[in-house]
Amino acid sequence: MSTGDRRRDRVLSRLVQAAFLIAVLTLWHLATTKWGVSRLLLPNPARVYDELKDVLRSGEFVGDLRITLTEVAVAFVLSSVGGVALGFLLSRSPYLVRVFEPLLAAIYSVPIILFLPLYVLFFGLGPASKIALGATISFFPIVLNTIAGFSTVERVHVVAARSMGASDFQLFRWVLLPGALPVILAGLRMGFIVALLSILGSETIASLAGLGHRIVHLAEAMDTARMFAYIAFVVAIAASLNVIVTMLEVRGRR
């Protein structure tokens, strides 16, 4: 395949993607205007756009956004501090890693969202139960990646640093940390995303405030157009947070 062919293929792919997007929007529009799909089920795209503009202009989202982001931030700080600290302590001894790593991995494979009713029982319907659940769920990828990160550090580098007389702190600062950082950062990114998703999830299921709660509230009020607008808003927020943490991860790796 020549480069000309490849360029033509890429242009064609973009065209297919654009056509796909336009087809979805057209079908959506036709379904609401021509085919009589109830607007309670599927609001007109133009109305959703108007509602979205209204939501953004009125600033009504600020309160819910602040609650959700605070929950995510607190949960992430708890789980990252706890996860990195415990991961580092365990990774100091290969024996402890062999004892605890399978245990942590086993718990990680259980869908922890199951325990949401318990968390609600313990911490109530407010932000505390969301923070606790988000912190629990995001703790596991972080601790497992921290353990994996510190165990990928080359043994030779540690021995070389030691034999050149590095102190414990110097060994940590100049050998262990740079070696482990890429894997730890990947874990932190995963942990952040998981914390965000589980907090949105628990707000959807049982809560008093927050973006997830707002969407459910609008769904129950059958205000579908505004619900679509909020869904678009939350998806945009989640996507931008995703981009930000990915950029931070790439920066931190250098």
Partner: protein, 274 residues
Amino acid sequence: MMQRASDTNARGASGSSPGAALARAIVRHPGIARLGAIVVLLVVWEIAARAWVDPMFLSPPSRVVGSLDAVFHTPGVPAALRITFFELAIAFAISVGIGLAIGLAVGLSGFARTSFMPIILLLYGVPQITILPLFILYFGIGPASKIAFGVSHGIFPIIVIIVAGVQNIKPILLTSARSMGANRWQIFRWVIFPHMIPSFFAGLRLGMTGVLLGVLLAELYVSTAGIGYFTTLFTQNFDPTKLLGLISLLAAMAIVLNEIVRRLEVHFGRWRAE
């Protein structure tokens, strides 16, 4: 425990005390220490639940285990477990079927891959929990919405992994098969298919994780007869014993399902490692 310690002592080095032998056995077998850690955790929980925590909120593990029978005999619980299992099975089957078809269709053609893969990754990246109310709106509060939501969580990892698996085939294998005169079907059957098997089972595992998450989220959100109904009921009645019993049953179900697909993955991925 004492029996085992003295056994190790008899077999182990000469002239050391049973305590030292036990310590050596623990060092040699991390599994024993792991078991010990779990036991310590359960004992702490038991003591905490009996001594300090309000029995409205937490009950000791001994009572939870004892209550499993009562949970099973709560009217509707066996049916709810069956419904949830049924939802999981159907959602998983649909995810695998459609995911495999889309994954192959998109992965086997370079053009389809560059065109549709960005769209699929974009959809995969959407936090689907935000559209859960829509699923309820379209599919009702019965099992259909749980199955649909489970499929929406399970299908994307399967597609992505299948596409990646098809893509990873070394071009030289395809070229050589073609130059030896293999037709499309033969190439698929003898080159692509064997290479796909490990990624197929990896996809099954990730798909199972997704389906479990989706179905359980939808169950917890709203449910009339499934597990979600009873977790809500037990929570509202401040009955932590039954709640914990039910949750442990579900967790056990999730672990068993995960373990089955993980074993399959290890089993069918063997040939590549050798």
